[in-house]
Structure formats: structure tokens, C-alpha cells
């Protein structure tokens, strides 16, 4: 595992998990990168998340 990945794992509290499952950590980071690439990002400051309390409820 490279230094950058190790640093990310340490920051996430996953040092031991990363040492035991380094391929899984690499795959997790690649998966995240793939989804981030598909996500449009806007700098519009007016756009807000839909809070849970505004989600449809019975």
C-alpha cells in the first residue's frame, strides 16, 4: 500500500483494517472516485439539501 493510501486509512481510523485488507481499501477508494466522477458539482450557494423533515412523510 502506498503512503497516500496509508495516510487516508490512518485518518479514517482504519490502520489495522487496511493492513489486513489492503485490496479492499484500494477498491473502496477507487469506487468512491468512480461515483464522485459521476456526480455533478455545483457552486450555486442557494442550492440546499432536502432535509429529512421535508422528505415525504405519511
Amino acid at each position: 500500500m502506498d503512503d497516500a493510501t496509508q495516510a487516508l486509512a490512518k485518518a479514517a481510523g482504519l490502520e489495522a483494517t487496511a493492513a489486513r485488507f489492503p485490496d479492499d481499501v484500494r477498491e473502496a477508494l477507487a469506487t468512491l472516485a468512480r461515483h464522485k466522477a459521476a456526480l455533478p458539482r455545483t457552486s450555486d450557494p442557494r442550492l440546499e439539501p432536502t432535509p429529512f423533515h421535508q422528505a415525504p412523510r405519511a
Binding site: A28, L32, K36, L39, E48
Partner: protein, 454 residues
Amino acid sequence: MTAPHQMTLAEASGLIAARQLSPVELLADCAARIAAVEPRLNAFIRMTLPEAEAAARDAEAEITRNGPRSALHGIPIGLKDIIDLAGHPTTCHSRLRLDHKAERDAAVVTLLREAGAVFPGKLATHEFAIGGPAFDLPFPPARNPWNTAHHPGGSSSGSGAAVAARMVPAALGTDTGGSVRHPASHCGIVGLKPTYGLVPREGVFPLAFSLDHVGPLTRMVRDSALMLNVMSCGREDYTRDLGLGLKGLRIGFVRHFHETDIPANAEMAAALEEGARLLAAEGAILTNVTLPKLSEFAAVNRIVLYAESSVVHEQWLTTRPDEYANVTRRRLLPGLFLPAVDYMHAARRRTQLIAAIEAAFAEVDVLLSASSMDPACRIDDKEELERTYPRQARTPFNVSGHPAITLMSGLSSGGMPLSLQFVAPCFREALLLRVAHGFERAAPWADRAPPLDG
């Protein structure tokens, strides 16, 4: 008389109300069916038959005295094993939860129990409703009744297999990225994801709070309506409009989901076109509708899911990671590496995606789309599982909270179910079920049974 286990929920319920079928007899016949086919399907991970038999006897006595409490009185219902049943473990199909014991019923189970339902067992799931199918867990993965070499979809895999195999007339599943509708699509049954918040989630092990839904899996649309009557705490009678037909309804066909976003298997695409033709023949007015691309919905769904599941699994992922199935660990780990800014981008984009679907409903009454893009593949084909699991159009409506239903639309040349999906405005489940029922009558695929007895 048809064997009781072969009856739909509505058929069994009608005979129970007419005192022509006893809940004890129905449960015994379902239990015999389970004993006969379960070794090939692995749908159940725990049987609770003694309690169910006692409840069926109580139901029989009460119905004889006073008549049924509801259409579910004396009906056996299977529970996905992330849903609490008092006095029993909710294992989530995981070795991390083998020593768990539920102190009380989940809220939705309380509603069903008060309506008189009985609970014969807990059903297989993908581990924590995300990791599967997997062979490195304490229980084997469920199999598809249409071909036991194939997977049944997931994560409510046992629920789909048990209902399709006529082991129980109905089951509960949960749906965070499509997990009720996926097994329904692959097992040739009906899977309903109600509007977000309509069915209570208390006592259901969470995957992602803002995406999680509880829904029924049944053989027929009417059965789903009867289940929702109880699961929604009697909000309305969802059978009310079933017979109104499709004439004049405006149906928006989201073709780009399966034509360009994720090009579907040819047989699945042909079944969708045939479904649209049948709807038009019934008097519906079909138009094409364009929504944001599936890849955007999928990205928002996954990033929100990673963030929300990370708080549930952080401790186990840091201290007991080797106790997960390999696939579960890989699917949960991204959440612990997710920057807050990405989560907020996803949450903000979610607002726009919801608005896009709401705008579509200004022009049409319901939406029609693909559910899965492929029939179910072999359960032992890891590469094909990885390729086909994300090829679906269900996650948009977990992101948005709109109610959605999947049902069978044919059989592939390989004998596996094909499917389609309808979506309605929030809290318009009566309309959604009306459209699904109209399709079901025009395309009576629900009469087809898996070839388990052949």
C-alpha cells in the same frame, strides 16, 4: 380446491373469511411446502413455526367467534432477517449479529401482528442488506426458484424466493437501492417500495436512513394492496381503485434509462416495448419522458448510502472487519473515506433530482421504466454478478422517495423472469397499484409458476 400454499394472499384471505379455509390448515400446508422446497432454495435462515402455529390456532378460534380482524388475519408472512421479531435474533445474515435477540417487534411487525398475521420464519438477506450474494457467511445465499443455479436478486433475496416458490403468500423486504424490487424482478413476483416514510422503519436494522424503505413482496398486485392497507396503519384502502382500468391515464415512458443510459439486454428491452404496447391497448396514453441520467442517480444513491451506513458500521469495520463477508466489507468501506464535502454535493444534487421527477409528474400520471436491465445470472458467476447488479433503474426512486412497483413482464428464452417498473407521485400508491393491476390483467404473467415441481 387449490392447495392452500398455491393460493394468492387474496384468495386465501377470502376463503378464511368465508370459513372455508382454516389458518391452521393454511400454515400447515405452507410448512409442508417449505419442508419440500427449502433445501433447494435456502430462503429461510430461521423457522419460528411453533409460535406461528399457536398464533394460527388463536386466529382460527377468533375468526370462528367474531370473523377476521383484517384481510391478513391468519395469513403467514415471512420476514427479512433485518426486521425485528420479538424473542428471536435479527442476524442480518451476519456472524456479527448471531448473538442478537430482539426484545420487541419492529413497528411494521406490530401492525401486521395486530391485523392477525402469523410469522413462520426469518428470511435470508444479503448481509446487512448490502453484501451478497455471498458464500462466506453463516447461512447460505438464497436461490432463484425459476432456476436454482441462478441468484434471486437482493438484498431481500429470501423474501423473493419464498414468495415465488409458494412457501408463503407474502413477505416483507427492505429497499435502499432497490432491494425489494430487485428480487421481485428476478423471481417473477410483485415488489412494492412505498413512499418514503409511509411504512414505519422502527425496529428495522438500518442501511441508510434517508434511503431505507420497508415494502411487501407478493404474488399479485391486489395482495400488495392488502399488505399496504395494514403496513401504512390504515391510511387508506389501497384496493379501492384497482378495478378502474387504464383508460385515459397518462404514462410517461422513461426509455432513455434502458436505451442509452444502461442499454438493456435485448429480451428485457423487447418485453418493455411489449409492456408499453399492452398499456396503450388498454387505453393508456404513452409519452416519452426524460429524467436525469441513471449514472447521476446512482452516484447520489451510493454516496448518501456510504455516508449514512458508515455511522452504523464504523466500529465493526475498525475492530472486527474479518467477520464480514468479503463483498460486504468492500461495499461498506468507502463510507469511512468519504469527505463531508462530497456528501453535501450529493445531498444538494439530490434536491435537483427530486425536483426533476416532480416536474415529470406535472405532465404524466405515472412513469414506466425498466427495473433490471438483465435477467438473473448464475449465482456462482462472480464477474457477471458484478457486471449486472448495478445495471438497474430502481435507485432513482430511493433517492427521490417516490413509490415504485415492479412486476413480471415475461420470460427470457432461458426461462428467467423479465420485469418492468411503475412509479407514482408521493403518496399516490392507490394510483400506482391501479396501474400495476391493470397491467397485470392485460399481461397475466403472474399466473406462471417457477418449475420447482417439474
